[in-house]
Amino acid sequence: MRTGTSLIQIRGLSKVFQSSSGDVHVLEDINLDIKQGEIFGIIGMSGAGKSTLVRCLNFLEKPTQGTVFFDNQDLSALSLKELYKIRQSMGMIFQQFNLLMQRNVLRNVCFPLEIAGIKKKEAEERAYELLKLVGLSDKAHAYPSQLSGGQKQRVAIARALANNPKVILCDEATSALDPATTQGVLALLKDINNRLGITIVIITHEMSVVEEVCQRVAIIDNKRIAEVGYVKDIFTKPTTDAARRLVFPEGKRVEHFTGNRCCRIVFDGSSSFEPVIANMVLEFRQTVNIIFADTKNIDGKAFGQIVIQLPEDKLMGEKMMAYLRNRGLTVEEVHDFV
């Protein structure tokens, strides 16, 4: 992966929608740099303006203020024709796949090539190549209605790759898929990033998606970017409320943790997947209450988090946290907030 120079620079971007009930301010003063070759996440609650932001990246939505530089070109300075041209180097995939239902898989992948004016024969060769890359060679002549959700998203990925884009923008690309299929699609995106060096921007409301594939993430909250940084840092030490809300499990009200001493254990992939809590309980002969747990095993490494209630005995609690830290885990005590 070649990372370093900025591929996308968002500068002072604001978006206001005019509606019958007045102006709707959706984004305010967004500034972001997305680097060449990275997988960048943009996460936020529903309605935070994620889709609007990603649509501003290829100017499907014109910012009300500010602009976007793509590959050092100011998109707001381009003519419509130039904009069409530059969009060919920005692939996009969607939650609902958005395939052409009346075209078969092959011709769906050929579509962006047709738009780019590539000859039919050449386009089909390229399309077959791409279908092979996404593992759907045998489905070239099937219609989208005959495919599963995961297969449809793979076709959409092949289609997004057709014109050798510099970036792929993914708007909730896995939100309509089940967990196993999500893993497959994320793995494919990771692979594409790895092998082809294509920058990927992932819009999602699921922290697990960000954890799994992104190197850096921006948290969008209340129309603004609340926090930007490496996923590992934000996941282990969220500094803003918005970040904490996302990092912490949905549905778990903050109040649940208050009053008792709890500790949050973060598995960031640096420890191996072992029953660490159970071992700790055996070691100290003292039970703990697991308040929340969401961990998964990826390549033998543990990812996710567990929140446990520490024993009343303060010293015992300290010992337990030390025990966990010794296992290479990030442990933080959570009191009043979260």
């Binding site: 069409y84 969607f94 609902q96 052409l100 239902m101 009346q102 738009i115 780019a116 219609y143 959409a156």
Partner: protein, 219 residues
Amino acid sequence: MFDPVVVKMLALGFLESLYMTLISSVLAYVIGLPLGIILVVTDNGGIKPAPGLNRVLGSIINLLRSVPFLILLITVIPITRAIVGTSIGPTATIVPLVIGASPFIARLVETSLKEVDKGVIEAAQSMGASNFEIIYKVMLPEARPSLILGAAFSVTTILGYSALTGFVGGGGLGDIAIRYGYYRYQTDIMLITVVLLVIIVQVFQEIGMRIAKLSDKRK
């Protein structure tokens, strides 16, 4: 009643009806299809919103649609004379048929095209497709089955209108039905023309539905 003269007359009427209907349908689509496309494209959520144009066009279409066909038929006689040179016979009848059918075809096309998923259009835009490419590479092909059904409906409706033009000497089966059935009380001949009309309607409807179904890849 099956003397050769009557049979010949019925056969001619049949062919005239087909001729009027098909030519009118084609011409009405030449006008109605682009209008329907303009209605969708210039709509508020369309790919090139133009509220003023949309409203004006929509109003004209509504106005034309609200005029009963029989009244339209009589009102446009001067126009027909100016274009065709006469106001009677199948060719002359094409003029009111086209004027009467174009507005509802525009609405039918509009409805079909509005069914096309916004997301698919957005995807095409994200690939750098121009509005023109979106119309002819995305909207029209994606709406194809619905457009075909609409066309079958249009043809049968135009056939119905064409039968009505018999009142003003429009030619075709309707003309025969009115001349023999209504003015001379030869009910048998009228019945045969009605049966023939029913058959044509059935055939067109059936063909339309089959093609629409075959061409729809959504299952």
